[in-house]
C-alpha cells in the first residue's frame, strides 16, 4: 500500500493550518515531516528533496515546504490549499496581536514588556548570526564574504538585489570552483 486514498483539498488545508497555528521555528519542519509521512502523502526521500528546494528558493522555508507538499499530493489546487492553510492562521493570529498592540502599547506595563521583548528579539537575532557565522568557519573566504556583506549593507546601505548579485554571486562562484577542483582531484 504505497498510496492511501487521495486526500481532499480541505484535508490538506487543515493539516497545514494545524501546523502553522501551533508550531514555531524549526519545530514546524519536524511536525510537517511527521504529518506528511504518517498520512502517507509521500516518502521520506521526496520530503527531504522538497525541504532542500524549499531552502534554496526564496520565501519562508515552511511555507515553501507546505506548498511543495500540497503540490506533490494534489497538483496546483493542492498547492493553493496548502498555501492557504499555512498562511491564513498566522495572518489572523498576527493581526489579533497587532490590534492588541495598537490598543495597549501606551500602557506603561505593556510598554515595558514590549521593550523587554524587543531586547530579547535583538538577542535572538544576534545569537542566530553568531551561530550561522560559526558554521562558515571552515573556509576563510566565506567568513570574508559574511563580513563584507554586513559592512556593505549596514554602512553603505547597498540594496538587497545588488548584495545578492555581487556577494551571493561571489559565493556561488567560489562553490563552483571548489566543486570543479574536487571533481578534477577525483578524476586524476
Amino acid at each position: 500500500m504505497s498510496v492511501k486514498s487521495e486526500p481532499s483539498l480541505l484535508d490538506i488545508a487543515l493539516t497545514f493550518a494545524a501546523i502553522s497555528s501551533t508550531a514555531f521555528g524549526g519545530g514546524q519542519k519536524a511536525s510537517m515531516r511527521q504529518q506528511v509521512l504518517s498520512r502517507g502523502w509521500m516518502d521520506q526521500e521526496r520530503f527531504m528533496d522538497g525541504l532542500e528546494i524549499a531552502q534554496v528558493l526564496p520565501g519562508p522555508n515552511i511555507l515553501n515546504l507546505a506548498v511543495y507538499c500540497g503540490q506533490r499530493v494534489r497538483g496546483i489546487p493542492g498547492a493553493v490549499a496548502a498555501f492557504l492553510g499555512a498562511s491564513v492562521p498566522p495572518f489572523v493570529i498576527v493581526l489579533i496581536a497587532g490590534a492588541l498592540y495598537f490598543k495597549f502599547a501606551a500602557n506603561p506595563y505593556v510598554h515595558g514588556a514590549l521593550r523587554g521583548c524587543a531586547a530579547g528579539a535583538l538577542g535572538l537575532t544576534a545569537g542566530n548570526a553568531l551561530e550561522l557565522t560559526w558554521d562558515e568557519r571552515t573556509q576563510w573566504i566565506r567568513i570574508v564574504l559574511v563580513a563584507v556583506t554586513a559592512l556593505a549593507v549596514s554602512l553603505l546601505k547597498m540594496p538587497l538585489l545588488l548584495v545578492l548579485v555581487m556577494f551571493g554571486g561571489a559565493g556561488i562562484a567560489n562553490e563552483y570552483l571548489r566543486s570543479r577542483k574536487k571533481a578534477d582531484g577525483a578524476a586524476s
Binding site: G59, N64, F83, Y109, A118, A121, S154, L164, I172
Partner: protein
C-alpha cells in the same frame, strides 16, 4: 514629504515593495530585514524604527513565518483601511515566492540530479549570514538602548545558543524582565 500619498497609492507601494522582498527572500527570508527597514521606515515612513523592531518581535513571537509581520506594517501604513493594507502586504510578501516554488515543479526533473542545487544553496549562504548581521544592526536601531537592555539581549543570545529553551519563551522571559526594568 510635500503631500501625503492617497490610500490607493499606499496600497500600490505596499504591493510593489513586499513583492520585491518576496522574490529576493533567499535563505528563508532572513536576509530581507535591512531592505524592508529601508523601505518601510526610511522611504515611505509607514512605521517608526521602534515600531519596526516591535513588529519584528511580534513576528518572532507568533507561530508561522517571522516575515508575517509584513501584515502589521501594512496595517500601520493604511490607517483608513488597516485590514486591507495588512492583507495586501501579506499577499505581496507570500504569494510571489510561493508561485516560484510551484513554477519550479516544471524544472524539477532537470534540476533534481544537478550539482547546481548544492552550489547555489551553499554559495548564497555567506551573503545571507552577512545580511543577518545587518539585521542585528537594523533591529538594534529600534530596540531599547542602555546597559540593561543590552544585558537582556546578551543573556537571550547566550540562552538561545546554550540552552534548549524555545524562541517564543525566550522572548516572553525578556518581556517579563522588561516589565520590571524597562518601563
Amino acid at each position: 514629504m510635500a503631500q501625503h500619498p492617497s490610500a490607493f497609492e499606499t496600497i500600490v507601494h505596499l504591493l510593489w515593495t513586499f513583492s520585491q522582498l518576496s522574490v529576493l527572500g533567499f535563505g528563508g527570508g532572513k536576509g530581507i530585514i535591512p531592505q524592508m527597514h529601508t523601505e518601510a521606515v526610511g522611504r515611505y515612513h509607514w512605521v517608526t524604527s521602534q515600531q519596526f523592531t516591535q513588529f519584528y518581535t511580534i513576528g518572532k513571537l507568533m507561530p508561522g513565518p517571522t516575515t508575517i509581520f509584513a501584515a502589521l506594517i501594512g496595517y500601520a501604513a493604511t490607517p483608513a483601511r488597516p485590514y486591507l493594507g495588512a492583507a495586501v502586504a501579506t499577499i505581496a510578501m507570500f504569494v510571489p515566492s510561493s508561485a516560484i516554488m510551484v513554477g519550479f515543479d516544471a524544472l524539477w526533473d532537470r534540476f533534481q540530479a544537478s550539482p547546481w542545487r548544492a552550489i547555489i544553496g551553499r554559495g548564497l549562504t555567506p551573503a545571507i549570514v552577512g545580511l543577518v548581521w545587518s539585521s542585528v544592526v537594523t533591529i538594534g536601531r529600534g530596540a531599547p538602548k542602555g546597559v540593561f537592555a543590552y544585558a537582556i539581549a546578551a543573556v537571550v543570545a547566550l540562552l538561545m545558543l546554550r540552552s534548549k529553551i524555545g524562541t517564543p519563551l525566550l522572548i516572553l522571559l525578556a518581556g517579563a524582565v522588561g516589565v520590571a526594568a524597562l518601563r
